[in-house]
């Protein structure tokens, strides 16, 4: 697809000016890395600050007296447990218990929720949500084009972000958010992220993006900020063992298989896919997601076969070098009986079987 046909975030010019290597990511023209390179971008996020354009994500408002009941009927996590100013990770399931998308649900008020969904699935999710509206008293709005979203991640993220707002950022707990101003304009300031580091995701009007981005890079120079592309975003989330839709999650993978039982609140009222999860829970899972690390030289990649002896037991869902841990790691969906830390496995890497071992996840956890 020519780059003219690809969708662009409001930061497209900024990425090009910075020397970003642009690629087609699910129909979006996005930077896979900048001149510093993936490894440097990854390490800088773990030790200082990484700056990410995530404006391609989708934002859907659900408003009205039935907002909570409606979203609760569509998602696995329990929206009733959220307080105003809190967000949680959740999933939309289909009738077979497979994942339609993973998302964040933000509670602004009892009658006002914001759903933040993946870039490649925004349209699919929008149609799916609308098709289930039924008799619920809700107004739905796809506001994705109105927002930019910039993620500031790393141990020094809070120090930098504080320079841009009067809101006391240390008072925002993890997975909580406040409405305030950021760099002089209205913004949602959310203490969330996809890297395993502390940090913030800033939602502001799309036309403010380029200025905020540039100001963050300038101001953050003394703190060691680097802009980071999609490749570093992937290696960071993999070290933190966070799922990526289309890899660890898909419409044929249940959240229980993907170690997301913690976001599945089976004690709440009916939601799409609930009965399938209940059955899986009582009869036991036949396959599970595990983390592994390579124990011989070689890198496992997405889609490679996993075996124990001559028995094929599963497939790699995400595999890559881990720049901070300096190992080669991955996640794999395997037969449940082999899903135990310490299990020796082999992975077929372009015709050769390379040894690996199942390890506990996350691979990386930040110190505070």
């Amino acid at each position: 697809m020519s780059s003219e046909a690809l969708k662009k975030t409001p930061l497209n010019e900024s990425h090009r000016t910075l020397g970003g290597k642009m690629v087609d990511f699910g129909g979006w023209d996005m930077p896979v890395q900048y001149p510093a390179g993936v490894i440097e971008e990854h390490l800088r996020t773990r030790t200082a600050i990484g700056l990410f354009d995530v404006s391609h994500m989708g934002e859907i408002w659900v408003e009205g007296s039935d907002a909570i009941a409606f979203v609760n009927s569509l998602t696995t996590n329990d929206v009733r447990k959220l307080v105003v100013g809190q967000a949680h990770y959740s999933a939309f399931l289909n009738e077979e218990g497979g994942v339609v998308d993973d998302l964040l649900v933000y509670k602004f008020a009892d009658d006002r929720l914001l759903l933040v969904v993946n870039a490649g699935t925004t349209e699919k999710d929008w149609e799916w949500i609308n098709s289930h509206k039924g008799q619920f008293n809700v107004d739905l709005k796809n506001a994705s084009a109105d927002y930019c979203q910039i993620a500031i991640q790393g141990p020094k993220a809070i120090e930098l972000a504080q320079r841009f707002t009067e809101t006391e950022l240390s008072s925002i707990k993890y997975y909580h958010f406040k409405e305030g101003t950021f760099d002089g304009v209205a913004a949602i300031i959310s203490r969330t992220g996809y890297t395993g580091e502390d940090g913030f995701e800033i939602y502001a009007a799309a036309d403010e993006a380029a200025r905020i981005w540039s100001n963050l890079l300038d101001s953050g120079r003394d703190l060691g900020i680097l802009p980071c592309g999609l490749a570093a975003r992937n290696t960071l989330r993999l070290e933190a063992a966070m799922s990526l839709y289309g890899h660890e999650l898909s419409d044929t993978i249940s959240p229980l298989e993907a170690n997301l039982g913690w976001i599945c609140k089976l004690d709440k009222e009916a939601f799409i896919g609930k009965s399938v999860l209940e059955t899986q829970k009582s009869s036991g899972l036949t396959r599970k997601l595990v983390g592994f690390e390579m124990t011989s030289p070689g890198i496992a990649r997405d889609g490679y076969e996993v075996s124990v002896g001559d028995e094929k037991i599963g497939v790699v869902t995400s595999g890559s070098p881990a720049p901070y841990l300096k190992k080669n790691i991955g996640l794999a969906l395997v037969k449940a009986e082999f899903a135990n830390a310490g299990q020796e496995i082999t992975i077929e890497v372009r015709g050769k079987r390379i040894s690996a071992r199942v390890v506990p996840t996350p691979f990386y956890k930040r110190s505070k």
């Binding site: 290597k21 896979v32 890395q33 390179g37 993936v38 490894i39 440097e40 490749a231 992937n234 290696t235 030289p297 070689g298 890198i299 990649r301 890559s320 070098p321 720049p323 080669n328 372009r350």
Partner: protein, 129 residues
């Protein structure tokens, strides 16, 4: 703008070749390392392995991708750079020096004449932009 040393020959698959008598030293070009990004692992053959011109003798891996490397000449592997995986970033930083991969004793040194000169490789890169 790629670095393309004058004293080397090149293949259309972005390998460089240093010809010294019947020995061909092979690596990947500055253009190739730049396209790949940070190299994390190089899979090399063993000494004694034999390859025909155009065959894949190994692969070079970046964080995101794997690329096969092809020998532009026929012959036996006489040496491999076994330091390369200690510092795979040498492929990025010093593609024509410390980033060398294998040495092949050519069956037929005439094969080297079919390779591109530095000027021809530069033209080739411009044409494929």
């Amino acid at each position: 703008m790629s670095n393309i040393p004058e004293n080397l020959r090149y293949s259309k698959d972005h390998e460089w070749v240093l010809i010294e008598g019947s020995t061909a030293t092979i690596g990947i070009t500055d253009y190739a390392q730049h396209s790949l990004g940070d190299v994390v692992y190089v899979d090399l053959p063993r000494i004694g392995d034999k390859f025909a011109s155009g065959a894949a003798f190994g692969s070079v891996e970046s964080v995101k991708a794997v690329s096969e490397i092809f020998t532009p000449v026929t012959g036996n592997v006489s040496a491999v750079n076994d330091q390369i995986n200690d510092t795979p970033e040498a492929v990025n930083k010093d593609a024509y020096g410390a980033g060398w991969m294998v040495k092949i004793t050519m069956d037929n040194s005439g094969e080297a004449d079919a390779l591109l000169s530095a000027a021809e490789y530069e033209e080739y890169l411009k044409a494929s932009e």
